[in-house]
C-alpha cells in the first residue's frame, strides 16, 4: 500500500535513473543504514560479531567483487581464494613493514596490489572464455596458495608459516589484534562495505558497467558498437580483484587475526564466494549482499536450531548442516536460477499492485 510509483513523478533524467526510484525504497534504505550504524554497534557482542556480522560484511565485499567479474562482465573466476590471499599477505607485509602508516591505507593498498595481480591473471580472458577461463583462474588459485606457502619472505620467516596481525588503531580505536572490541571490528568492516558497495553501484550503472554487460551478453556486438574488449575485461578483473583483495585483507587482519594460507584461502573459499554470487543473483549488488547473508547466516541458524533447540550432538548436527545447505542450494538453483535478487524483484513487482492486482 505504501509501495507505489503513483504520484512520485520524475522530472529529470538523474531522478529517473536513481538507485531507489520509489520513495518507500529510499526510506527503507536509510532505515537500514540507521540501524546498521546507529543501533547495532551499541548492542553487538563478541559472539554476534565473530559468528555473524563481521564474516557477513567481509564476504559481502568479496561477493560484490566477484559479482562484478562474473555477474556483470561474464568472466568466470575460480581464483577468489587466491586473490583474497594476495590481499591478506599484502596487508600483512605492509603492516609489518610500515607500522606507522594507517591500517586503512594498508587495506586499500592491499586491494590495489590485488588488482594488479588480478589483471595479470585476467590476461588469458582475452583469448579464452567460459569453462576454459575458469580452469585458467583455477591455476591462479593453486599457484598463489603455493607461492605464499613456499616463499618464507611472505610470512616474514615465521617458524609456524602463519601470519598474524599486529595491533593497529585508527584515531586511537584498536582495529586489529586480539584486543579489538566487537563494535570496532563491526564498524570498520561496515564502513568499508558501505563505501565499496556505493562505488560498485556507481560503476555498474554508468558507461563502464554498460561496457562490462555488453561484453557479457554478446562480445561481438559489444566490439561493433565501440567497446574495446581488452580494456573492458581487464578493468573488470582489476576492480573485481580490488574488492576481493580488500576483503582478503579484512578477513585476515580484522576477522581471523592469524591465518595460514591453505586453510584460510583455499579452493573452498573460491567456491563459497562463487555460491554466494550465484545464490544471491548474478549481476546484482543487492544479490551479492543477500547471497553472503544467506551462506553466513544459514549455518549459524541451523546450528542453533539443531544443537540449541533440538539438543542433537554437535558432530551429527555439523554433518546434517552440510546436507541441508547442499540440498537448499540445489533446490534454490532449480526454483530460481537468477537468485535471491530475482525473488526480491518479483516480490517488489507484486507489491506494487498489492492488494489490487487487476
Amino acid at each position: 500500500m505504501f509501495y507505489r510509483e503513483a504520484g512520485d513523478y520524475k522530472t529529470s533524467y538523474p531522478e529517473d535513473s536513481q538507485t531507489f526510484p520509489i520513495k518507500f525504497d529510499r526510506i527503507r534504505y536509510y532505515a537500514v543504514l540507521a540501524v546498521a550504524f546507529g543501533i547495532i554497534p551499541f548492542f553487538i557482542n563478541d559472539y554476534w560479531a565473530n559468528a555473524v556480522f563481521v564474516p557477513f560484511l567481509i564476504y559481502a565485499i568479496a561477493a560484490i567483487g566477484l559479482n562484478i567479474l562474473v555477474g556483470y562482465c561474464g568472466q568466470v573466476s575460480l581464483g577468489t581464494g587466491g586473490f583474497m590471499a594476495v590481499g591478506a599477505y599484502a596487508v600483512y607485509k605492509l603492516m609489518t613493514a610500515f607500522p606507522e602508516v594507517s591500517i586503512l591505507i594498508h587495506v586499500l593498498l592491499a586491494g590495489g596490489i590485488t588488482a594488479g595481480v588480478g589483471v595479470i591473471f585476467g590476461l588469458p580472458s582475452l583469448r579464452i572464455k567460459g569453462f576454459y577461463l575458469a580452469v585458467a583462474t583455477l591455476a591462479a588459485q593453486f599457484f598463489l596458495v603455493w607461492l605464499f606457502n613456499k616463499v618464507p619472505w611472505f610470512y616474514n620467516y615465521s617458524a609456524s608459516g602463519q601470519i598474524s596481525a599486529p595491533e593497529r588503531d585508527i584515531l586511537g580505536v584498536i582495529i586489529t589484534g586480539p584486543n579489538t572490541t566487537a563494535a570496532a571490528k563491526y564498524l570498520f568492516c561496515a564502513l568499508i562495505l558501505l563505501a565499496l558497495a556505493w562505488l560498485a553501484r556507481n560503476l555498474t550503472r554508468g558507461s563502464v558497467g554498460r561496457k562490462w554487460m555488453a561484453i557479457r551478453d554478446m562480445d561481438i556486438a559489444a566490439e561493433i558498437i565501440g567497446v574495446n574488449p581488452l580494456t573492458a575485461k581487464l578493468s573488470a578483473f582489476a576492480i573485481s580483484s580490488f574488492f576481493i583483495g580488500v576483503a582478503g585483507a579484512l578477513f585476515f587482519a580484522v576477522y581471523l587475526g592469524a591465518a595460514e594460507v591453505g586453510e584460510s584461502f583455499g579452493i573452498q573459499k573460491s567456491f563459497l564466494i562463487l555460491f554466494m554470487v550465484i545464490i544471491g543473483g548474478l549481476g546484482s549488488i543487492f544479490g551479492s549482499l543477500a547471497g553472503a547473508a544467506f551462506l553466513v547466516l544459514l549455518p549459524v541458524f541451523l546450528k542453533n536450531v539443531l544443537v540449541g533447540m533440538l539438543g542433537w550432538p554437535t558432530d551429527l548436527a555439523a554433518h546434517i548442516e552440510l546436507l541441508i545447505i547442499g540440498g537448499l542450494i540445489i533446490v534454490f538453483l532449480i526454483a530460481e536460477p537468477h537468485g535471491i535478487a530475482q525473488l526480491w524483484r518479483l516480490a517488489k513487482e507484486k507489491l506494487r499492485l498489492w492488494p489490487f492486482p487487476h
Binding site: P14, L199, N202, A214, R216, D217, I225, P229
Partner: protein, 274 residues
Amino acid sequence: MNMQNPDGYTTADGRQIGGVMMEMKNITLRFGGVAAITDISFDIREGEIRAIIGPNGAGKSSMLNVISGFYVPQEGEVWFRGAKRPPMKPYQVAGMGIARTFQNIALFEGMSVLDNIMTGRLTQMKSGLLAQAMWWGRAQAEETAHREKVEKVIDFLEIQHIRKTPVGRLPYGLKKRVELARALAAEPKLLLLDEPMAGMNVEEKEDMSRFILDVNDEFGTTIALIEHDMGVVMDLSDRVVVMDYGKKIGDGTPDEVRNNQAVIDAYLGVSHDE
C-alpha cells in the same frame, strides 16, 4: 543523371547526393581456399542509400564485415573520406562513425531497452573510471546529456513504451527496431544494415522502410543495406550493387540493375539447353 560525377548527383526524387564517402578498391577476401569476395570495387556516397543484393552465399554479409572491420581482406583497399583505412579492429571502426545492425539480432539480452540504446553512445562517453565510481558531477552530467540524445532516438523510433523493458522479453519486430535505435544512438556517419527486414510481416516492413528513409532524410545519414526483399530494395535505394558467387555482376540505379542481363540470369537462372 551522371553517377560518375565526383561531386555527386541528384536522385530521381530530387535529393542531392554528395561525393564519395567510402570506396572499396579491388577487395578480395579468402577463407583458406574459398574466395568469399573476388576483386570487388564500389563506392558509397555521402547521403546515399546504397543496397547490396545477391543470392544466398554471394558474399554480401562478408562485404559488410569487411567494412565494419571484422574481416581484413587479403587484397584491396578501403578508403574512407579520402584516406586509406589501415587494418582496424571493429571497435576502432565504430569510433570512426560507422555503426551497424546484424542479420540475426545482436542485442544485449540481459539489459533493458534503454541500457541497450545507451551502449550506442559508449564511443562518445569520456568520463574516467574514478569519476564514474564517485558519480561526480561530471560523470552524472555526461550521463544525463547522453540520455537526452538517446531519448530523441527513442522518440524517433516510437519505442517509448518499452524503454525499461528487458530486451529478452520483446517480440522480434521490436528487437529489430531497438537494434536500429542502438546503431542510431551512435549518430553514425555511415549506417550498415544487414537484412533489416528479414522475418518481418508487411506492416513491420513498411514501418522499417519508413524509419530508414526518415533516418536518411532527417539526419542525412548515409546507409548501406543488405536486403532480400526486392520490392523494398528497389523502392528505398538510390544505387544497387549486385553480387553473385563473390563477384560483382551489376552496379547502378534500381532500374539499370533490373534490366541488367547478368543480374536477371543470377536471380532467375540460365537455361543451359540452348
